[in-house]
Amino acid sequence: MPLCRLPVLAFAAALPFACLAQQETQKEIERYRQLLAEGNPADLFEARGEELWKASRGPKNASLEQCDLGLGPGVVKGAFARMPRYFPDTDRVQDLESRIVTCIVTLQGFKPEEAIKNPFSAPGRPSDLEALASYVAGQSKGMKLAAPLAHPKELEAFRIGEQLFYRRAGPHDFACVSCHGDSGRRIRLQELPKLTDPGDAQKIFTTWPAYRVSQGTVRTMQHRLYDCYWQMRHPQMDYASEASIALEVFMAKYANGGEIRAPALKR
């Protein structure tokens, strides 16, 4: 498609129609994104998340302020930039959302099944987890992702995530790599990152959680994975499952060094 890269005005008359149409579509999409970026509704989710974080709730009537997100109890700033990571107290590798759930259970005394019963909001049914994830992620905005990959369990999670990334299954033979193995491709008009390419991964991995305009809410990385597997004709992925976290560890390795822009804004 070298023709499509020529300056529009000078060569417009010479361009075939399809090429022009595609270029116009792309230009409109860029303009739409710029307009949106000027007022991101994710701000409201961050604010609600902060209130929830500091509110005394649950059977223990405690707030989440003493939650240890990896940098010690009470430290929220910069914690998301070091996730996912191994946590000695749970003896597991955890991502942002599974760690928030751990704190809801241990500090506030909710049962695990209560803590995860509404991970993804629906119209008229907001999700506390989406708000909490927005708040914590927002506290690392502007920092560079530096997820550790040193503890044996982190290395193991990486290797498992790598296997899963290439694992083809189901009626459509899909794996993650079916859509995320090459740069510059699209599903319909949606561009797809090559997740093993640091350039692509750094730009995209650090944007979740993000406000999805088409869904009218913040969606998290857990939702992104759940939605990918939906499209891949797999069954519903369990929230904060080991496979989801392993995939995040795998992706984070390539995304490390990318600037945290979460909660970002998306179509």
Partner: protein, 203 residues
Amino acid sequence: MKRLTFIALAAFAGCASGPSDDEARQRAERVFRESFTHGNRQMAARVEQQDDVQALCTRYRNEPPRDLADRIEAAETADIRYPASGKFLGDWRQGERIAQDGYGLRFTDPDTKRPNGGGCYNCHRIAPAEISYGTLGPSLYRFGALRGAGEPVQRYVYGKIYDSQAFLACSNMPRFGHNGVLTEEQIAHLVALLLDPESPVNK
């Protein structure tokens, strides 16, 4: 295909850093089974058990060595079921609807009476009026005009949609006929979308 699996195993020795490939694979399979426990059990069973081709393409990350690729292509070719009627060309208008439609086999698609779609535009440019097309696959615009629409081309296109891996082992494209996603009749409609001189693809 048992033989294929054996050859693949022998080709993969251990690897550095963390668990070996074999160990990582076994643990990944366990983790996978434990991570899809709340959904539809039948769907879970279908993704837990990879068929031989899925397992091999996973293992070789879609780049099988030539001899293995030859075997996969031969085995998949032998599995293609061509229409009993001998008729490859259906109705391009119905083909266009199937190409647009992404319905089917997702866990939110409970209507088993509604036919599955092909979702072809997700990955391919096809008719020029649709500008919302994906680029994971090649453009199919003017497919018939460029390649002709005779019986050999009809047969090829039917076979490619039925089982893409008969022609390219570990292709990213779903095996729509082989895996029972689309019916023979639906595939014939898609063949017409690409090849019929009256189809907008070739106008």
